[in-house]
Amino acid sequence: MIDREQVLHVARLARLELSEAELERMSEELSGILEHLDRISALDLDGVDPTSHVVALENVLRADVPWESLPRERALEQAPDRDDGAFRVPSPQA
């Protein structure tokens, strides 16, 4: 149902490094789960509107009024790596 290659592709999309063992296990388990979930694709769903929300709200808007931002120290205090008032990451261009 979902083979090793697909699992690997999905893991890359999700930015998850999977060990060989996890890969094996994942494709087996996911296949089992998907088999169960596939029951819904057997239903006749023509003409049924999708529900992405159960609340019947529209136009919930916020006035364009500034609020107090976090002090920079608070914003940065949890950062695993920081430099010069900014969050530091390995360069995407490296």
């Binding site: 916020r62 364009d64 976090l70 914003a75 790596d81 900014a86 969050f87 261009q93």
Partner: protein, 488 residues
């Protein structure tokens, strides 16, 4: 690359633009942090725009209003109910790892501006700023980047055109028109250099007469009008060369380097993009009410197209001038200000000064793209100067000198005229004496003029102008010379 334009007989360019406009709201799209420019990094963040666990977005009402104004100005159909989606991708400038954007039901569709149809207009949030730090002192390739979330979450309106443009210069002109339109509405600074207006171009070629579109390349972030034109030109040349060599154009994203004029493919990702769009469950639909729409409609100012009409019909400007002033936001605003300051001078004269002398002397003084609004010549000063010429208080030649001074150091034209003694010579005795000296100093020229060769009068007029520092009226000088030589 040699520019061999012969391909234009064989291929037809098809160009579409994707424009991102930063809105000038006070706060961000989905949180109350203040928008800021050029400040220290990370001074304007909160749990929402830093994507802390549990934080939720709330839509900025003003951003919706501004987006509606843009959509209406572009003659779009407003969706009765539009929704936000999550566009999923990992990147350090994208803290939630998804961008909240509108996808299959955008705010507005099916519009038009000038000759170009608008495909869609939608709202989204901007990414943060990522600064790449060089790897100096480190192992090669181990450079790092710094993330500043001040810009992250700035409201953006994305405008996508249909592929209706067929020429780089036209694309540039049209983008100018779009910029002016948005600037006039007052919802963005629309500054390409500062990034509040960003433009990508989708460019392809097809054989002349063909219906099917060719394979397109996407040109990213050309950050000036000139670069847009040059970038598209360069890409068209590249594609034409490929097609001529019977090679395939590949669908890819290219980055234009304005310094080298080279187009380089953005490093292709190891795997294709799959944004896994799905409806944003943290937000509810936007369903603009009649009140919201009429409010947006009523707050629209005069837009370029109708301004051009007014300039033609009411101010009786020439077609080209009317278009130039209506479609160039800065120039148009300058003209309107000068017009307001003018004291009896006709709009036509003011328009001539703005589009003619002023633009020319700014160009001369600086590089091209000189912006009157940021020059030292105030609209008041220009209007005053035009008035002085019209009332013959100074000569045209003297006025040019005054303008040169204004361009260089600004100031009040009346003072400059006084200071430099450039007032019109109305003491005809003084002028007659100079004319007499001119005739004496160049008997040869005088003789030829007397013999009917009017071309020879030049050096004599020139002498008088030099002596009077250009203060004399050219027509009056000619008349006096002829009189002196008995041609009366």
């Amino acid at each position: 690359m040699t520019t061999e334009n012969g391909w234009r007989q064989r291929y037809e360019p098809v160009i579409g633009l994707e424009i991102h406009v930063q809105l000038s709201t006070r706060t961000k799209m989905f949180c109350g942090c203040e928008l800021s420019f050029g400040e220290q990094p990370n001074l304007h963040t909160c749990p929402i725009c830093l994507a802390h666990p549990g934080s939720l977005p709330v839509t900025n009402e003003q951003a919706v209003r501004y987006a509606l104004q843009i959509a209406l100005a572009l003659d779009c159909e407003i969706a009765p109910r539009s929704i936000f989606h999550r566009k999923n991708y990992f990147y350090p400038d994208n803290p939630k790892a998804y961008q909240i954007s509108q996808y299959d039901i955008p705010l507005a569709t099916a519009g038009r501006l000038g000759d170009v149809r608008i495909h869609r207009v939608h709202l989204e949030e901007d990414a943060a700023k990522l600064v790449h730090v060089s790897a100096s002192g480190r192992i090669h390739g181990s450079g790092s980047s710094l993330v500043d979330f001040n810009r992250g979450g700035t409201p953006l309106v994305e405008i996508v055109t249909e592929p209706d443009l067929d020429d780089p210069a036209t694309a540039r002109e049209w983008l100018q028109l779009l910029r002016t339109t948005i600037k006039q509405i007052g919802v963005s600074d629309v500054n390409m250099e500062e990034g509040s207006l960003r433009c990508d171009a989708n460019v392809s070629l097809r054989p002349v007469g063909a219906d099917a579109l060719g394979v397109k390349a996407e040109l990213k972030n050309m950050n000036s009008f000139r670069f847009l034109e040059r970038g598209i030109n360069a890409e068209l040349e590249r594609q034409a060369a490929l097609l001529d060599a019977e090679e395939q154009v590949e669908q890819e994203t290219l980055h234009f380097d304005p310094r080298s004029g080279e187009l380089t493919p953005l490093r292709s990702k190891e795997y294709a993009h799959d944004y896994r769009y799905f409806p944003e469950p943290d937000l509810v639909p936007l369903a603009p009410t009649e009140a919201m729409l009429s409010e947006a409609r009523e707050s629209l100012p005069e837009l370029p197209a109708s301004r051009r009409e007014r300039y033609l019909a009411e101010l009786e400007l020439a077609d080209k001038q009317a278009t130039q002033l209506a479609f160039d936001a800065d120039l148009g605003a300058y003209f309107e200000a000068a017009l307001a300051a003018a004291d009896g001078t006709t709009p036509k004269v003011i328009a001539n000064w703005v589009t003619g002398e002023l633009v020319a002397s700014l160009r001369e003084a600086k590089a091209d793209d000189a912006d009157p609004a940021s020059s030292r010549v105030s609209p008041d000063a220009l209007a005053k100067l035009a008035g002085m010429v019209e009332r013959k208080e100074i000569s045209t030649g003297a006025a040019r000198r005054v303008l040169a001074t204004l361009v260089a150091e600004g100031g009040d034209p009346t003072r400059i005229v006084e200071r430099e003694g450039l007032g019109q010579l109305d003491d005809s005795g003084e002028l007659e004496a100079i004319v007499a000296r001119a005739v004496e100093s160049d008997p040869e020229a005088a003789a030829r003029v007397r013999d009917g060769n009017m071309k020879a009068i030049g050096p004599l007029v020139g002498f008088v102008m030099r002596e009077t520092k250009g203060r004399a009226d050219g027509g009056e000088v000619t008349r006096l010379i002829r009189e002196r030589l008995g041609l009366g």
